[in-house]
Symmetry: C2
């Protein structure tokens, strides 16, 4: 049963590049990737923060927040 | 035929956590992950730099350098 890996982004060029590279590279047998655009889903900024996300793009995998390159600070998103 | 994804690290706690989380999560049907400890393989620091790596841990995937969280600056490794 795949677990959910959540990729948070804000539509920035760094975010798009990271999404193409990493979110698509995960093993589909183990991970179902949910893509969350925090610029459009403001209500989920608090959720990302509670998971330890400090900047986007970020991937939360098995509860571990992985900040991938740097696009924007979470605090600038809401 | 899997392509090689290279995970550069320096043995730091942030590196180990990232390695466990991301290097092991890639689709094995598409990627063969090479783990490079730059503290032990100093000769490969220049290679990492030429690929655009600025800090470790970092994963180079399809030529794209992805800096994952932050452990150490490449310039501090040699």
């Amino acid at each position: 049963m795949p677990t959910t890996a959540t990729f948070y982004h804000a539509g920035c060029p760094v975010c798009v590049e990271a999404e193409r590279a990493i979110a698509a590279a995960l093993d589909p047998a183990r991970f179902r990737v949910e893509i969350v655009h925090l610029g459009q889903a403001k209500a989920r900024v608090a959720e990302a923060r509670s998971l330890g996300v400090k900047s986007v793009p970020a991937l939360v995998l098995d509860g571990v927040p992985l900040h991938i390159n740097f696009g924007a600070r979470l605090d600038d998103l809401g």
